[in-house]
């Protein structure tokens, strides 16, 4: 069985964001980078599946500059067998259609039985890439899964819907799944596995070899949302803040009356 998991490196969302000089994306410098949270669940599910079935080969793919290799090493330490790094310093400028076309071009003659992606990225948040990859490859896709089982070529997944309801869906491999938070408990790589990961294959492929389509959209401008007026911001010593808040709660709510 051949499995592919696609992951993206994103800034820590707690970061203090600044805008780039063109004003059309965030400034990529001075940020702490990590694996997109949704993708951690995708990697974990792929590793669990690899452990479950006997003969499996699990490839992790990521598109981006050299720094994404650090994150890919984490995925290798979690249990992926090999890495395909699509080397691209300008990946942040590419739209979901371009990114999906690159992944599909990589995957098309490799006959993956299962492909896992996160349901969306934390920075762009379009939630399109996984489905676009599947549609381009002509295989079924199930989005937003919170439960996954595989037996004899049959996939049983639960999609998470609004209000905590789940929809039970079945399909057959080959197929693509986009992973929602809470699907599983992503493992922490152990030290021996981190050491082992250093010896695993991590190939870099220039993006030009796979990128053959033009973009369909662009971010014309990025900016901070206007602050909604009225909200009071309090800073200072903790004890003093508590006194101020108690006074506000007494004045504005009936709670402490």
């Amino acid at each position: 069985m051949k499995i592919l998991v696609c992951i993206k490196q994103v800034p820590d969302m707690e970061s203090k964001f600044k805008l780039n000089s063109e004003g059309n994306w965030y400034d990529n410098s001075d940020l702490a980078w990590r694996m997109n949270e949704y993708d951690e669940y995708a990697v974990e599910q792929a590793v669990q599946l690899k452990t479950q079935v006997d003969e499996a080969d699990l490839t992790v793919l990521s598109i981006g500059p050299d720094r994404v290799k650090e994150m890919m090493k984490k995925a290798l330490a979690m249990g992926c067998d090999r890495g395909a790094h699509i080397s691209d310093d300008d990946s942040f400028k590419k739209d979901p259609y371009e990114i999906a076309s690159i992944i599909a071009a990589f995957a098309k003659d490799k006959e993956f039985d299962l492909i896992f992606t996160g349901m969306q990225s934390q920075d762009r948040g379009s939630g399109q890439v996984g489905v676009l990859v599947a549609e381009t490859l002509g295989i079924p896709s199930i989005t937003t899964i919170v439960d996954f089982a595989f037996a004899a070529g049959q996939i049983t997944a639960k999609r998470e819907l609004e209000g905590g309801i789940k929809a039970l869906i079945k399909t057959t491999a080959p197929a693509l799944l986009t992973c929602q938070l809470g699907l599983n408990t992503p493992r922490y790589p152990t030290l021996p596995n981190i050491m082992k990961a250093k010896k695993k294959e991590l190939l870099s492929i220039p993006v030009a070899e796979l990128h053959k389509v033009a973009s369909k959209q662009e971010t014309a401008r990025m900016y901070f949302p206007e602050k909604r007026g009225g909200g009071l911001v309090l800073e200072g010593a903790v004890g003093n803040l508590a006194d101020q808040l108690i006074k506000i709660l007494k004045d504005k709510t009936g709670v402490l009356a």
């Binding site: 309801i165 399909t171 602050k227 709510t253």
Partner: protein, 305 residues
């Protein structure tokens, strides 16, 4: 400008979010038609053409088949925009349509300014103006971003539609959210814990404040996913929707899914070390402090009142 609105139907009901699409078309001053895989017995209150496929025949979730039904209508209507809710149905179906039409899809649109769609980025900390380069565009709208002024009204002109394309997946039914646990919708005070509590032991700090205020404690999704709190405590799109007199968000950054579950609270206090956290957008008071120091101090002072 012509729009095609993709309404939603689930478990025998038309979803109210469908009317947000109507509000969007009105705001744009655009013509519209509507598409629905639903039932003749549950029609939307809408004045216009409704292309209706029978849910009994095509199922509530059946992407390959819904895609073909929708593509046939698009070929006939030639809309400039195909508009979905940014929901589990919309974000699943929209990219399939976008690829088939070779059209740009702009996701989770919160506004349209001078004809340019605006989408959030980085957990709503940033916004971006998105320019499509294609003639037709596909949009998914963030829940609650567009709303009708009054109650929806009208009677649609129903045009039945059919297809014989084969399904790719099998929908086997729904599983309800786990019953039992706490009904947060009745609580007058809710103190909620977010990822900022750092470790499960710190949930006790949140519980203590909730108790001092005679309320209940809630939690954001990451806290529930980490199994630090029960799912019945979860506030947000996939948990409970609450509207207490007082909501205190402790260490919650304010993802849109969480905000959707608590923004109707009467008074919101946020405690966060990050002054720019999106929770500040809905907070009446934002306390910039470490909750592990601030909350115990607040609890002690309230107990001493």
């Amino acid at each position: 400008m012509k729009t095609l609105l993709v309404a939603e139907y689930r478990d025998g009901k038309l979803l109210n979010s469908s009317y947000e699409l109507v509000a969007f078309a009105q705001q744009l001053g655009a013509e519209s038609a509507m598409f629905l895989v639903g039932a003749e017995s549950v029609l939307p209150a809408y004045n216009g053409t409704l292309y209706l496929a029978d849910v009994g025949k095509y199922g509530e979730y059946n992407p390959a088949v819904h895609k073909q039904l929708l593509l046939d209508v698009i070929a006939k209507e030639q809309p400039d925009m195909v508009v979905f809710s940014h929901s589990s149905y919309g974000w699943d179906l929209a990219p399939r349509i976008a690829l088939a039409l070779n059209a740009a899809q702009i996701s989770e649109v919160v506004d349209i300014i001078d004809g340019v769609p605006v989408a959030p980025a980085c957990n709503s900390k940033l916004r971006r103006d998105v320019k499509a380069k294609t003639e037709q565009i596909i949009l998914t709208l963030q829940g609650g971003a567009f709303g009708l002024e009054g109650a929806p009204n009208g009677t649609p002109t129903v045009v039945p539609i059919d297809t014989d394309v084969a399904a790719q997946v099998e929908f086997c039914g729904y599983e309800e959210a786990e019953a039992g646990g706490v009904d947060l919708s009745r609580a007058e005070v809710i103190v909620s814990a977010g990822r900022g509590i750092g470790k499960p032991e710190n949930l006790a700090i949140i519980e203590a404040l909730a108790k001092a205020l005679k309320g209940e404690y809630g939690a954001s999704r990451p806290v529930v996913d980490s199994e630090w709190a029960d799912h019945s405590r979860q506030v947000g799109t996939t948990g409970q929707t609450v509207s207490p007199k007082l909501y205190i968000a402790c260490g919650i950054s304010g993802a849109i899914q969480h905000l959707a579950g608590m923004k109707k609270s009467e008074f919101v206090v946020a405690i966060n070390t990050d002054k720019d956290a999106p929770i500040g957008e809905v907070a009446d008071v934002l306390i910039v402090a470490d909750l592990k120091e601030f909350v115990p101090s607040l609890t002690a002072k309230i107990q001493a009142l």
